[in-house]
């Protein structure tokens, strides 16, 4: 018996978008990178530049779905002392600092199991998070964790990939809440030059299954990518290219992030 999906800030944020606007931007930050206390200023930068929402990546020692850039930032964040408990506190601090955009932590299943799924979801919700993304928890394994997330009022945002078959897609869409995270490439995270044709096909296939908003991610890095996606999806996620930009100017991480996000949004 699955628990019904909650309404969240995501629904409001997507509802506020104009239909033919550029896809809303969802930046991914590695919590605790470049410094342990970078998270809140980076989330403020995301809000001030006009991002639709933000993903708060909580590092794991063995991030299977991530390419070299996010791996590297995660290793740094772990060395800085980042943990799930600290990330929860930083999400609360971001809310206290006036961040109102939807926030979705993204982490792997093992740290969640170590924390205890029910305690983690309760703490996330109390801190002001809106959803959760777990890249190594596919639909077949997600049931219990998804129910706990929903019971605590958190969206459980599933990933779908170009290799996802039609019947799986329908099944995943039926359980989804918040939005559907569409993986643009057959591969791991990391900036790429061109949008793959399979990305647009996937977005169309998802729309045929569910009215939920679609965010495309993995490999996006330029304003041109966003322009190409106009009308094809409601949001676009950017991670590795953003982390690259922050790495180049670590002394002013929030400034570097803001400059990069503005260039993606406005060219």
């Amino acid at each position: 018996m699955s628990v019904a999906a909650p309404g969240t800030r995501f629904a409001d944020a997507f509802a506020a978008r104009e239909t033919d606007a550029l896809p809303g931007l969802i930046p991914y930050f590695t919590a605790g990178f470049p410094a342990l206390e970078s998270t809140v200023p980076l989330l403020i930068a995301a809000q001030e530049t006009g991002c639709l929402a933000a993903e708060v990546g909580i590092p794991f020692s063995d991030p299977l779905a991530d390419g070299p850039t996010i791996q590297r930032s995660g290793t740094r964040a772990l060395r800085n002392g980042m943990t799930l408990h600290i990330a929860v506190r930083q999400i609360r601090a971001a809310r206290e600092a006036g961040v109102t955009i939807p926030l979705a932590p993204m982490t792997y299943v093992n740290p969640i199991l170590a924390y205890g799924p029910a305690a983690f979801m309760a703490d996330l919700r109390a801190a002001g998070a809106d959803g959760l993304i777990v890249p190594d928890l596919p639909d077949d394994e997600a049931g219990d964790v998804r129910d706990v997330a929903h019971a605590h009022g958190l969206a459980f945002i599933p990933l779908v990939a170009p290799t996802t078959t039609g019947s799986r897609l329908a099944h995943i869409a039926a359980h989804a809440s918040g939005f559907v995270y569409c993986v643009a490439v057959t591969g791991v995270t990391g900036a790429r030059a061109a949008l793959a044709a399979e990305a647009l096909q996937l977005l169309d296939r998802v729309r045929a299954c569910t009215p939920l908003p679609r965010a495309l991610g993995f490999g996006l890095r330029t304003h041109e990518h966003l322009e190409q996606l106009r009308g094809h999806c409601e949001a676009a996620a950017v991670g590795s290219a953003l982390i690259d930009a922050i790495e180049r100017d670590e002394q002013d991480a929030a400034g570097a992030a803001a400059r990069f996000l503005r260039s993606m949004l406005h060219g």
């Binding site: 794991f60 020692s61 063995d62 991030p63 299977l64 779905a65 390419g67 070299p68 791996q71 290793t75 772990l78 943990t83 799930l84 408990h85 792997y108 299943v109 093992n110 740290p111 969640i112 199991l113 170590a114 924390y115 890249p135 190594d136 928890l137 596919p138 639909d139 077949d140 394994e141 049931g143 599933p158 990933l159 779908v160 990939a161 170009p162 290799t163 996802t164 078959t165 799986r168 995943i172 993986v183 057959t186 591969g187 791991v188």
Partner: protein, 394 residues
């Protein structure tokens, strides 16, 4: 829980915790595995390769001098070290590469720690004509330079992995990332009874030939079964291959031996069944070396093949049910057992197998002289000569 997930469970362990991109490939692999393993023509082809090429069946040797010096039960060795390429790994690699050919995959990837699985996979790819890429931690490439050169001679590309601790865990991460990227034309030959469903089941099926031969041979020679079988456990493929044949024989004690490294209390070991707690790594839930925040810990063992923080999910189930017992041997224990077997029997064992020999000798001491203790001698020690020579304990 869906039927597919339920089938991949060993009690509460196992499963398939992987990025969505891989789920369809795992389903395809499961279907192909089920079809191939119930196809008499495939099984006959595999049997021919194992017999004519790999050298099966492997002999069982009565370690007379070792048994006499040790006292107690008779110690017999299942000689997987005599298999082509020098370890049990070829049973699995040949089977999986044959399956990949049947699935129409052109490209093979593998991870390796000590290099034995990489070597076996490179060998299978050479004789079956497939492209082979092996991921190996840079630290392991240094420790096992000879195996790196052998893989390259066989035409494989060995890709160094620098992330994390630059050992087997990290090589496995990198192989999985390659598979996520190239899943359409690539088969990932995982080297142990670990990983997402269906790998633990597939690897067990391909390795159970070890236990099946051992069971048949002891019955033929003695008209009875051994009182105890002993095998080392890193991921646990030789152990599960040995145990599976005996798991219904409740009088046969099943003993796995983990790497206690510098001691179970030193924090520097690779013994998740002894000192870890359940968690998810590399696609399955099993005992895992992890800290309180769920971050996977860096392990240590003198033996690169056991230097892994996880373990096959079926071992976790067997541990909890008590059907198998898991002990451990330190680096020092393994080195002493290495030298003892070399001097008393003229067999230079892999350091992995030496862990099993140490515990087997202790178990034999407690038994009568007409008892049989069988040790899976999973590999030969040529690859470890430099490690032994450099060791202050050597």
């Amino acid at each position: 829980m869906s039927t597919a997930a339920a089938r991949g469970r060993f009690g509460s362990y196992g499963g398939a915790y992987v990025p969505e991109t891989l789920v369809p490939a795992l389903e395809e692999l499961e279907q192909s595995m089920d079809a191939a393993l119930s196809d008499a023509a495939f099984l006959a082809e595999l049997a021919t390769w194992l017999h004519d090429y790999a050298g099966r069946p492997t002999p069982m040797h009565h370690a007379r001098r070792l048994s006499a010096v040790n006292g107690g039960a008779q110690i017999w060795l299942k000689r997987e070290d005599l298999l082509h390429t020098g370890a049990h790994k070829l049973n699995n690699a040949l089977g999986q590469v044959l399956l990949a050919v049947r699935m129409g995959k052109q490209r093979i990837i593998a991870e390796t720690g000590a290099g034995q699985h990489g070597l076996a996979t490179a060998t299978a790819c050479a004789c079956l004509g497939l492209r082979c890429i092996v991921y190996m931690g840079r630290e392991d490439m240094r420790r096992q330079a000879l195996n790196v050169y052998k893989m390259e001679l066989l035409g494989a590309e060995v890709v160094p992995v620098d992330s994390g601790s630059a050992t087997l865990k990290d090589a496995t991460n990198e192989a999985i990332r390659d598979w996520v990227t190239n899943v359409r034309d690539t088969h990932y030959v995982i080297g142990s009874a670990v990983g997402p469903h269906p790998y633990p089941t597939l690897v067990r099926r391909l390795q159970r030939v070890i236990g099946d031969e051992t069971r048949a041979e002891t019955r033929r020679r003695f008209g009875r079964l051994p009182s105890c079988v002993v095998a080392c456990v890193g991921g646990g493929s030789n152990a599960i291959g040995m145990f599976t044949a005996f798991v219904e024989d409740e009088d046969v004690e099943l003993v796995g031996v983990e790497a206690a490294g510098r001691g179970l209390d030193s924090g520097e070991h690779a013994a998740p069944l002894s000192r870890g707690r359940p968690g998810v790594l590399h696609g399955s839930r099993s005992y895992l070396m992890q800290d309180g925040d769920g971050q996977v810990e860096v392990t240590h063992s003198i033996s690169a093949g056991l230097d892994y923080p996880g373990v096959g999910p079926e071992h976790s189930m067997l541990r909890d049910s008590g059907r198998a017992r898991y002990e451990s041997a330190t680096d020092t224990d393994a080195l002493a057992a290495f030298h003892r077997l070399t001097r008393l029997e003229g067999i230079i064992p892999a350091l992995e197998s030496a862990h099993a020999l140490h515990v087997a000798a202790r178990l034999a001491e407690q038994r009568s002289a007409d008892d049989l203790v069988v040790v899976c001698l999973s590999g030969r020690g040529d690859k470890d000569i430099d490690t032994v020579r450099e060791s202050p304990l050597g």
